[in-house]
Amino acid sequence: MIGSHIRSQFPILHQQMNGHPLVYLDSAASSQKPIQVIEALKYYYENDNSNVHRGVHSLGTRATDAYEGAREKIGRFINSESPVQIIFTRGTTTAINLVASSYGRSVCGPGDEIVITPMEHHSNLIPWQQLAKVTGATLKYIPLQPDGTIHLSDVEATISTQTKIVSITHVSNVLGVINPIKEIAAIAHKNGAKIVVDGAQSTPHMKVDVQDLDCDFFAFSGHKMCGPTGIGVLYGKKNLLDQMEPIEFGGEMIDYVELQSSTWKELPFKFEGGTPIIAGAIGLGAAIDFLEDIGMDEILKHDREITAYAYNRLSEIDELKMYGPAENRASLITFNLGDVHPHDVSTVLDAEGVAIRAGHHCCQPLMRWLQVSATARASFYLYTTEEDVNRLVGSLLKTKEYFGHAIR
């Protein structure tokens, strides 16, 4: 398994936390960074740092080459038709907001529909709520099955010829559900709608091919896939990106500026106003080199194995309830331990050196659907080992014992 072999390349994992070796099980919130990415950022700042696309000096050329090289690499990574369809953003949230504010406002009006699901992260929910409010469009939800999955018959029933945009997560950050994007895209297109895919939780763990998925827009974040924070990507089909207006205006994105009006640069620059996220993009490029070196198929295999192992081990704990489907799930497990509140679970685990997430995971509507106020979540990545899972299970048993005495 790559889990134990790869750990030496993640410096942060080799530390004591509250008197125990750190077990990091919060990669769905943000992954840790390998030394290769940390070194790439250091190298850039020590050797190539400069602004891009403006100066004629040699440093400027090197910075530009590194930045645009990262764009090409990322384009190949998700099989974009061309690098100009890779727009750098601050993260998934900014990418989805760009689609909603630019494309969304140009196509939606009263009587039109925007279709999403109750499992969406707030970042793929609120931009559409706001768009519906501003344009008078209706926001509709594809219903979920009891295990949190969606049925294509419900997708068919919800999307209509009035639907302009369907926006859906590839992988749920709470349920671990993997949605059938290709099939949903086909239904959207049949009705004349465009599909936006939130790839924040899928891109780190599996090979993404935007052409095969036939999605119109695809958004993801660097920091969840071994890259730095503050860098994300919006991929879009070229004809759509071409027709979209920028939403941020300033330097770098203009062609001609006159006193009363201006024109924009070509793709992708018209969407990257201001000094872009140069180091972030280069860091994300290094993360992709790192992931591809291991192989996305290997990573997927490891993540599935470790998740299946965790699912079985957690099933052994009495009173532990897991949410989401038992089969075909992504590498995270959301749960509650009897009556013990997830904050309390998380605090006891933290005292044991085990870091998990507790709360609503930016999915308040989904928490209401699950009829809970909060949940705990353990999420796994390429550096997670069976030993990590064993420590999680041991700490959960301790939590049960601790609160068993304390409460009863």
Binding site: N18, H341, H343, T347, A351, A358, G359, S373, A374, I407
Partner: protein, 144 residues
């Protein structure tokens, strides 16, 4: 990091059987507050008369610390003049920032352990913030 510093017996007792839990009808000001980062929520009712908090009840969703803190807060402010209640809230804030504070209602002292768990301070302060907001709302209403 000692868990027993956080989960003291008295805190667990309040959590297990919170005092002043529930609602009442007459002339109360109601404050809904939640902690958006974690999902804890409280609905607090206060009945103020002649500058005194006559009744205080709450309904809450949350962890042991937030429920225990709400239970203690309502106990502590009931029957107190508004200025006294706000003073207790200030003392509580001070305790949460690591300062020494003493309370007539001694149970509150048990929450001092929360300061060793910075991520949990917001759980402890939620109900106190709701009380301060409720008092402000009530004073606004009485002026209009």
């Amino acid at each position: 990091m000692q868990l027993d510093d956080l989960y003291r017996r008295v805190i667990m007792d309040h959590y297990k059987s919170p005092h002043n839990s529930g609602t009442f009808d007459d002339g109360a000001v109601t404050v809904e507050m939640n902690n958006p980062t974690c999902g804890d929520s409280i609905s607090l009712q206060l009945l103020l008369k002649d500058g005194i908090i006559e009744r205080a009840k709450f309904k809450g969703e949350g962890c042991s610390i937030s429920i225990a803190s709400a239970s203690m807060m309502t106990d502590a402010v009931k029957g107190k003049k508004i200025e006294e209640a706000l003073q207790i809230a200030n003392d509580f804030s001070a305790m949460m920032t690591g300062e020494d504070a003493e309370f007539e209602y001694e149970d509150i002292q048990a929450l001092s352990g929360v300061t060793k768990f910075p991520a949990r301070i917001k759980c402890a302060t939620l109900s106190w913030n709701a009380m301060k907001k409720g008092v402000a709302l009530s004073e606004q209403e009485s002026k209009t």
